[in-house]
Symmetry: C2
Subunit: 449 residues, 2 copies
């Protein structure tokens, strides 16, 4: 601590409020014990100083952005230093001609895009948390969002990262060109590594031109979630690629309508919300409307952008609506798109088996489901974990994965080897050890001790 | 050898022709010494058997597809086993609804796409070698091609790989869903690893729908290569995204015209060949034609698809045209797109300094240049390596990379640390050692001994 203060002065924060805040993220889960300190890094050399001291004293360090994670990946526990990158939030370079930008990690996703817009470009990853989450956090978790089926995930949108290793050395990974295959692709390895390989202190982002043409938003109501899931798969199979395709089951839809004081939807009704964009958006929307109607949906098309935004606001209010019902564990399985109806069948079966309700929303265009477990009190009851485990197992059996975009963190580490297999779990762990031989980088996350 | 024969029977080939063939690839460079054997693997268990024997006897193994590499990455030397995956060439599964396919590694890129077409889907990576190179080789090198700026590189088009480790264990890396962030992204790490991490024995590929709408092909002649490069950067900066944008300098253009017995182009003339596709291809082609004309180009638009293919055939005949001039060392630097004119200036400077001619073609839409060094006889003269080194250094100084799509292999390993830095070189080497502790997987490639 004295070493930290000597090098970093008042950027070392040990106020009780600060220490309490870094114990948790948006998952609601909090670490045990009281962290040693929060360091508000202002520069790359601050980060290097922290890591050198941490290595010398073998002190665990937990890198942190805005703390909006949903897997406990940035939760800081007793004896650990929280290393906040939130203050390093500059946009350092924009090159519309090369479709790239260089940023510090603490810049908020939506603020970056506001700065990019006058240049006619944007960074495509759009997690639902984009108004509050940082680009560094998006990279650390390998974030997704609503637009992924058409515009890709974080892995598709990063050319390079600057990484401070456990011992304080700085590495420039990746490149600034569209193509580049010099050596191993460590940039991709860092994306989604949740702070276990190093501290991301900068990134070269791959941009896109702003999409020209119009946006068309439509909704379709179905008798139940299975019918909506079948319709979603039919849209994907039709070959038309919507920018956004979101599915809300009956409980989610009802909860949001209540929260927003909207007229109650028909009982049991599930909804698809779809947006097309680009030069042929209107024609695509017509094709999709026909597919949805044929699948038994009742289709409404927004008259204009403002009405389209209102329709999407229903989907965007999901998190708030769930919070209004109680404490929520938001799960994050992902399956091949054709398996979406089968996955909803599994969720219904698990609801019946455990006597739980599991309101579920899905990025159905890419097969990523967020089943919400709602309960009372701060701790996840054992029966909820049992049911969640059965959801994970069902996703794996359908060819899916434990986590589409939130990461493993602490909340899913005990199931990691179930998906990877013991051999791959061990191999991944050994790779992390090459970056961090002392095991001081975000210990206990991803790989259970 | 007795162990190999006992387990693999007549799939072990020690005929002098076979042993001679695996010493080289399409780079022209050949390994020293005579390989021990070529094993024609017919199954995953064959590959596992070879690796178990190799580990027990500490024998180096060089995985090999069709041998079309341009960096010597699959060249097999004295005391080494060439492990050919070429015979494992089945398309195992196509799921148009999930936009994925599962393949064995030996399937040829163009043959895969011929099989996918009736399903209305395609695999986008299109190296110039697509008619002769395998998907496994495309993955091992992280191949690019002509369509990358619009449709991505191999890294963007692979969801998972099955990998046999040095000790014979089989690992399933990656996933079948659009999203997935469970653990470290080892799939990306394997892409472009040139056989140093394991043997790719299967892959789950991310497909695209066939592009609807028309294709429009146009060419523009310019007074010189610099004007063509400036025009190419202007097209990129205009915001219109061509599917293909290729640049040929005066020497390339003249050589191809001679080879194909076409009327000679104006002296010193360089050419851009551009193709747009999709629903607004015609409008995009008009915009591009205006940009090219404003940049001083003489534009011709193909009347139909057949004429468009003729125009592209000129570009596709480059390799043959260079071979008609002598032995060729094809280089592969990549720079940010805006640096393309500056890179051509550097190549002109290096030509003058060394008294060499360096005919250069570029995937100018993505900033990837192939400078060709033409000489007599089988061995690269020292002065050519000196000039090539200066080309590499110029690319790095312009924010570029040593290799856009061909890989490091043996031919560029001595410059790898110049780009990565010594620390990152060492880190990458240690990561490779986690997969291959004995160093028997493609030793001497990528990482110089």
């Amino acid at each position: 601590m004295a070493l930290l203060r000597a090098e970093l002065g008042d950027r070392v924060d040990t106020s009780p409020d600060a220490l309490a805040a870094v114990r948790a993220d948006k998952s609601g889960h909090a670490s045990d014990g009281t962290p040693l300190a929060v360091v508000h890094a202002a520069s790359v050399s601050d980060v290097q100083a922290v890591m050198r001291i941490a290595t010398a004293t073998r002190t665990p360090v937990v890198p942190r952005g805005a703390g909006t994670g949903l897997a406990g990946g940035a939760n800081t526990g007793g004896g650990e230093i929280a290393l906040s990158l939130r203050g390093m939030d500059r946009l350092l370079e924009v090159r519309p001609d090369d479709l790239l930008a260089v940023v510090e990690p603490g810049i908020v996703n939506a603020e970056l895009n506001a700065l990019l817009e006058p240049h006619g470009v944007w960074w495509a990853p759009d997690p639902a948390s984009r108004a509050i989450s940082t680009v560094g956090g998006n990279i650390a978790t390998g974030a997704g969002g609503l637009l992924c089926a058409k515009y890709g995930v974080v892995r598709d949108a990063v050319l390079g990262v600057d990484l401070v290793l456990a011992d304080g050395r700085l590495m420039h990974l990746g490149h600034r060109s569209v193509k580049g295959v010099t050596g191993l692709d460590l940039t991709s390895l860092v994306i989604g590594s949740e702070g276990t390989l190093g501290v991301v202190v900068g990134a070269t982002l791959k941009l896109r031109r702003l999409v020209e043409g119009e946006r068309v938003t439509l909704t379709a109501l179905f008798d139940g979630v299975r019918a909506a899931a079948v319709a979603s798969a039919a849209v994907t199979a039709s070959g038309v690629q919507p920018a956004i395709m979101e599915l809300m089951d009956a409980r989610c839809l009802a909860a949001v309508h209540r929260l927003l004081s909207l007229p109650e939807p028909p009982p049991g009704a599930a909804q698809l919300t779809i947006q097309t964009d680009g030069p042929v958006a209107a024609a695509e929307a017509r094709t999709i409307a026909a597919v949805l109607t044929a699948a038994g949906g009742t289709v409404s098309v927004a008259a204009d952008d403002a009405e389209g935004e209102e329709l999407l606001a229903v989907r965007r209010s999901m998190h708030a609506a769930m919070e209004s019902l109680g404490t929520t564990l938001i799960e994050d399985v992902s399956v091949p798109r054709s398996a979406l109806p089968a996955m909803f069948d599994e969720i219904a079966r698990i609801e019946r088996k455990y006597g739980l309700v599991i309101p579920t929303v899905a990025h159905s265009g890419d097969g990523n489901l967020h089943p919400n477990f709602v309960f009372e009190g701060p701790d996840v009851p054992p029966i909820v974990w049992e049911a969640a485990e059965e959801v994970f197992r069902a996703a794996l059996e359908l060819g899916g994965t434990l986590t589409g975009e939130h990461g493993i963190g602490v909340l899913k580490r005990r199931w990691l080897a179930d998906e990877l297999g013991d051999d791959q779990w061990q191999l991944q762990r050994e790779i992390a050890r090459v970056f961090d031989p002392l095991g001081i980088l975000n210990p206990g996350k991803v790989f259970a001790a």
